[in-house]
């Protein structure tokens, strides 16, 4: 039987941890606030004891796959090990129990952490200016495209379009639209890289920026990035690096030298902060000198040994976060880079690339690679051969779950038929890569010998395939919806 909901587990008057008794004279709420502004009855929250609540959340937790259990090779997501030390450091009271509005004098340690992280990340990216205010990669994109608007507006040359490759992440065109530009898609060439001829045709005086992922979502380094930068810059437009794939480049190559005007980093990918089942992330946006005046306020400055937040930024696009971004993630990321040091950072990229190439070499006998040749830190396979046997990428993904491992990203990028996008990361050992490869080869055999077994998968997971169409048709989004259906079981 599935785990009940908290509402179903509730028992009248059961309670968790209690407060100290009130130590000031009680006036009563009705005396303190107008009666008509008060709730008529208590909120419908659960009534449950602490041990029952703990069991509930523990029982639910074990239904999850997670990186501390086994390989989690989601392409573009960089599911690497999250060092425990990082969490321990971030939870010290001097970081966790400090208020964003306490005086700068009493926050110097926190500001020093942010400053030092900035110095490391600027060196890694080869770019001079930085903000860590965005909460996630998509918010870095939003920040940069807003800065792009401000930059062109200041030059008296407003633009209308932002170009994105057809292999780009969905956040790119979505951001472009949210900032009031039109997204123009350019196709990839047969080599998986941006088609330069098509790019030249697409770029014009209307172009505000090009958003490029490098290595791209096929795991291929855009080797013509220098020419791309020239084409974009010659048109007066800006070049944005979607840095989701920085795990291939840290310590090996720098986006600054490639001509990027903006480059983002996802701390929750490349810099090992936990993904948390969906977040929090940590967004870093590095920019060229010419764009520095447009960074969100406040900007961290240092004079002598003292740090201060600068609010006097007349050309800034303004704030994008309530305070200073996801500070707890910044502490973790600094802890990670200091643990690795300069040689360790480059070693991460080398091992991530080696692991991906090794895994790819073991799989190409059974699965068609999207492109021949070496890959960077990830690669894309097509389940086209398996599809001819009546088994789709989705079925293969579900079958993987039966082996206690996690599936690659499926059906992305959109330009590869039946895509399986695999990113093992540096975390995996050769033995772990071998067992993942053997499992995928076994599944390929099954698609020939026993395809139904794959199509019926998973059977070894806490639940079997779920009816997503039903969920969308009959929206049951809260306990109340569930009760209204009379479906308590």
């Amino acid at each position: 039987m599935a785990e009940l909901t908290l509402r179903e587990l509730s028992v009248s008057d059961h309670r968790g941890p209690r407060l100290q008794p009130l130590d000031v004279p009680a006036e009563g709420l009705e005396k303190l606030l107008p009666r008509e502004r008060l709730r008529a009855k208590a909120a419908g929250l659960p009534e449950i004891s602490e041990p029952a609540a703990v069991r509930h959340f523990v029982n639910l937790s074990v239904l999850n796959h997670h990186i501390d259990k086994a390989i989690y090779p989601l392409g573009s997501c960089t599911m690497k090990y999250n060092p425990k030390l990082n969490d321990e450091m971030a939870s010290m009271p001097g970081f966790a129990a400090i208020h964003p509005f306490q005086s700068e004098e009493l926050s110097q340690g926190a500001m020093a952490v942010i400053w030092e992280l900035h110095e490391w990340l600027k060196a890694i990216m080869g770019m001079p200016s930085i903000t860590t205010q965005p909460a996630a990669g998509a918010q870095c994109e939003l920040t940069a495209i807003l800065m792009t608007r401000a930059y062109h507006a200041q030059r008296g040359d407003p633009r209308e379009e932002v170009i994105v490759p057809d292999s780009s992440h969905g956040t790119n065109p979505s951001t472009v639209n949210q900032v009031g530009y039109r997204a123009v898609t350019v196709p990839s060439g047969s080599d998986g890289c941006v088609d330069l001829a098509a790019l030249k045709r697409a770029v014009s005086g209307k172009t505000a920026a090009l958003m490029l992922t490098n290595p791209n979502t096929l795991g291929i380094f855009e080797r013509q990035v220098g020419q791309i930068a020239r084409i974009v810059h010659d048109a007066g437009a800006l070049l944005y690096l979607d840095g989701a794939n920085m795990n291939a480049l840290v310590g090996l190559a720098s986006p600054g030298s490639m001509g990027f005007d903006f480059a983002h980093i996802n701390l929750h990918k490349t810099f090992s902060t936990p993904h948390g089942g969906g977040g929090p992330g940590g967004g870093v946006l590095c920019v060229r000198e010419a764009l520095e005046p447009f960074l969100p306020t406040p900007v961290l400055e240092r004079s002598g040994e003292r740090y201060r937040w600068s609010y006097d930024r007349p050309r800034s696009i303004g704030r994008v976060h309530s305070y200073y971004g996801n500070f707890g993630m910044l502490v973790r990321a600094l802890c990670y880079v200091k643990s690795l040091g300069a040689p360790g950072l480059a070693e991460v990229s080398r091992e991530a690339i080696l692991n991906a190439n090794y895994l790819k070499s073991r799989l190409v006998e059974a699965y068609a690679p999207s492109h021949e040749g070496y890959c960077m830190h990830e690669f894309v396979l097509s389940a086209s051969r398996q599809k001819a046997r009546g088994v789709r990428a989705l079925d293969i993904a579900k079958r993987i779950l039966d082996f206690g491992m996690h599936a690659p990203t499926t059906y992305f990028p959109l330009i590869v038929e039946e895509a399986l996008m695999v990113e093992p990361t540096e975390t995996e050992t050769k033995a772990s890569l071998d067992s993942f490869a053997e499992m995928l080869l076994t599944i390929d055999r099954e698609t020939r010998e026993d395809p139904e077994r794959v199509k019926q998968a998973p059977t070894q997971t806490p639940v079997r395939r779920l009816d997503e169409a039903r969920a969308a048709r009959k929206l049951t989004l809260t306990w109340r919806d569930l009760e209204a259906e009379g479906d308590g079981a």
Binding site: T171, P280, N326, V463, D467, L477
Partner: protein, 449 residues
Amino acid sequence: MLQKIGAPGIESLWEAIPPEFRIQGPLPVDPPLAEYEIARRFAQWAESNADAHHYACFLGAGIYDHFIPAALRSLISRSEYATAYTPYQPEVSQGTLQTIFEYQSMICELTGMAVANASMYDGATACAEAAHLAMGATGRKVLLLSEGVHPHYREVVRTYAAAGSFEVREMPLERGVTQAAALARALTPEISAFLWAQPNFEGIVEDGAALTEAAHAAGAYSIASADPVALAVLKPPGHEGADVVVGEGQPLGVPMGYGGPLVGFFSIRKSDVRRLPGRLAGVTVDLEGRRGFVLTLQTREQHIRRERATSNICTNQGLMALANAIHMALLGAQGLRDVAVQSAEKTHYLARRAAQVPGVTLANGDAPFCREFVLRLPAPAADFLRAAEKRRILAGVPLERFDRSRPRDLLVAVTEKRTREEMDRYVDALTEWARRPAQAPVEETAWRS
């Protein structure tokens, strides 16, 4: 491994990177450090900050020093939750998915709405996304934004508005509250929504029913940015007809953490569900008819809909939303109410006593306040803050940060964790300082956000 790959050497794997883009030699950064050396250095940084374990914290303004149960800290750090990805393979993500569903359910219980998403980055971006939703729903282009909304949230809303999708017009407060007649005048036909705060930034409890009624009379949406702890005792805006209720979830079990990571909650009426930004979990059944949970209505989202998505949000604040869910489960209806009642009682205790100090008044007179209030001091608040810091008291947030015309106003918050002894110490410090406030002008402060 290289042999299997068929590569002559590891460097050949990245031969696609032209040499001019490669980093020659090691990065100009420090050598690696062992765990204990890192711990030593991070502890030095941490200890140089004033934390709420060593200072009596009366700071609020959206971030509060509330009690966080030990069981929450233990559960939230489990690898199964912390190191999982977004639940794209629901068969091995039922833990995350059911907790999102429970989180959505409990947010709706607090706000009085029908649907909540799986979280936004913070209260500020939740406000911006709510404004965006209302533009789409009403087809109108101007947001009326109450000055009772957190000044930083208003800044973020303006940043998002700069994209050109909507304009922002500000609605002032008078003596700390929204005035009904002025509001009715400001609600012209181009207004898509009125965005207001409950309680507002100065701690005052607004007449939510009247504000929502006024917005609706003008054909505009009513969007409330609400404090979730206060909602344990206040009438939820959803019960008064609000169309969108958003807010900052930090008071529900998330550490102050120098202002991040936070978590924005976002709740709406069911009729707007297809305009909802972000992720949403729903109930379904598996092949064998067992109940299960999935992400639903994903066609609203960027990874499917690309440029036609309702928002570009992808990564959210999932683990903090889980902290909210665990917090609400552990404290329950009564526990959360106790937190709200004790905070209100203590806030009023300190306000009463502070206002008795000669020269000190309540800036908003007798307007009803809930968990914080504005003190008007006889001299610059920045000077009192410094005097209080010497006694290990973080005495409040100076409103001069946001409005240069208010150097003597101090926003003071009191949570259930503050003791009577700490509040009496606060009043002693205030009394002594008010007797002889600094003669010299306080050094010009840089803040003005």
